[in-house]
Amino acid sequence: MTTHTVPFDGAFTDAWMRRFARSAQAAEPELTALDQQTGDGDFGANLTAGTRAVLLRLDALDTGAAGLPAAAPLDAAATAFLDEVGGTSGPLFGLLLQALARAAAAEAPLLTTPALAEGIAEGLAAIRRVGEAEPGDKTLVDALHPAAGALAAADDATPPDAALRHAAEAAWQGVRDTAGLRARLGRAAYLRERATDVPDPGAVGVALFLTSAGGTVTALTPYLSPAVS
């Protein structure tokens, strides 16, 4: 039995959201380049705008307060993405965060692995209902679906940071697999075969989000083309 020095409270989710903002900003040029090949090129800018709005809302929260529930920063991030981002991918991220916040609130004040599993599963379900996307359609569902699977398979005793690390690994594998898929939804669908070897930027966004729970991503290449060992 190991003991954990990190409490999975509001300070943990606040730091996670702030790292997500830094990861999104660092990855923006690469995300834009990907989206220019598959969509209309605005995904990187929308994600960065969303995380900037998140930072403003986090600053307005008293995130330094002792005993801040884990759900509060997630809820602030959800509202920022839902209310303040244009296009469709940003608000879909908002639905994921909203579901995470709700699941976290149900097990307040600390984030647990079962709450993460339920929140990600609910967020995936909401995104699939709204976007009418199936796994394999080359959308963010292709990263979120394996991540939800990894979390569902995690033992309840797995600490949340370890569970999120496994979910992020599953999401990146999903991202790499989208590079072989042909889009059937969204603007990428009009490109037919031309965009098949490029991973889906929305799926990359999901993987960035999950990875940011444990650290900041500064470049996508190591994740998109991992060195063969």
């Binding site: 839902l82 244009g86 469709t88 639905l95 909401a126 709204v130 976007g131 009418e132």
Partner: protein, 332 residues
């Protein structure tokens, strides 16, 4: 801005909405922060708020149908662009009643997604919400089109009849079922002899060869799968009527509601001429024309074209169609 009267292309929608809200201030209020119009006066027995919305450029749809007997709220987006989920969500919260809110959504991908996100947010907040998807456009009825049929002129009839049904106290699920049934009862076909002018470019959205018209055009200038000679209305309306009746297959004696709708730049004189042809066509085929509506209701900016919508009714549908309505665009 040479083609349109306005201050600048990007001001067409905000300026038009502000003027509309002022002109009809007795009927509705305009929430400028969240961008929606809310009816001032709706029936006390209504248990479900009715809300619709979509891109601008189709006026009087939907704002013109806010008021007693029809919509509780309308949410306009930018020209031909879906409103943001936040506007839809805030308007839904404002319009919801004890049994929630019904979204009447024309079938376009952007609208489906944004209304869908708003619905998820409403569920999160504990406000019941259901959707009626309007997909009445016959020209986009093809197995090759994964997005399905578009929503067009039939929306007006669906909103009117649902309004009367909501006033009679129907619940959310009953209204949603009625809405699906009403959509199944109506089909629309649109033709155009000239595309709308794209604001800011002053150019037509597409070019037609002289003497041709687009048969099955969409209300955003989506091209039809064929052009046709622009001949006498007698033949054109006969072809449109035949296609609509074939799709709807009314039983002998079924009453039919007909909407002849201008797409923006067709004169009332022409529209009534088209309606006259439609009436003769229905008479010749033994179809009972019971109610008629002629005018500009679902436009496509300044497109020179019109649509015909037929809805197969029954006595209850007719009673609800006839129920009093007091909005900017429909009033009886």
């Amino acid at each position: 801005m040479a083609a349109y009267f306005g201050n600048a292309a990007e001001d067409l929608v905000p300026d038009g909405l502000a003027g509309f809200a002022r002109a009809h201030a007795s009927l509705l209020t305009h929430d400028t922060e969240h961008g929606y119009l809310l009816a001032r006066d709706t029936a006390p027995g209504r248990r479900v708020g009715l809300l619709s919305g979509g891109g601008s450029g189709h006026e009087p749809l939907h704002a013109g149908f806010v008021g007693r007997g029809m919509l509780d709220a309308a949410v306009p987006g930018r020209i031909f662009a879906s409103p943001h989920n936040r506007s839809l969500y805030e308007a839904s919260v404002a319009a919801a009643r004890e049994d929630g809110v019904l979204h009447i959504v024309k079938n376009y991908t952007g609208d489906r997604i944004n209304f869908g996100i708003a619905a998820e947010r409403l569920a999160h907040r504990g406000i019941p919400c259901a959707r009626v998807l309007v997909d009445d456009d016959l020209a986009s009825d093809s197995e090759d089109i994964r997005a399905g049929r578009r929503g067009t002129g039939g929306t007006v009839l669906v909103e009117k009849i649902l309004g009367a049904a909501a006033d009679s106290g129907l619940g959310l699920d009953e209204l949603a079922r009625l809405g699906h049934d009403l959509v199944a009862r109506c089909r629309t076909l649109a033709v155009a002899s000239r595309a709308h002018t794209a604001p800011g470019t002053d150019r037509p959205a597409f070019e037609l060869d002289p003497g041709q018209l687009e048969f099955g055009v969409g209300i955003h200038g989506e091209r039809a799968d064929r052009a046709r000679v622009h001949g006498p209305s007698r033949e054109l309306v006969a072809e449109m009527t035949g296609a609509l009746l074939e799709a709807l297959a009314p039983a002998p004696g079924d009453p039919v509601i007909a909407l002849v709708n201008g797409l923006g730049s067709v004169t009332p004189l022409e529209l009534y001429g088209v309606f006259g042809e439609l009436g003769r066509q229905l008479d010749d085929r033994g179809t009972v024309l019971s109610r008629s509506l002629v005018g500009d209701y679902v436009t496509a900016l300044d497109m020179r074209g019109f649509s015909i919508t037929l809805m197969v009714a029954d006595p209850l549908v007719l009673e609800r169609y006839d129920a009093p309505v007091r909005t900017a665009a429909l009033n009886w």
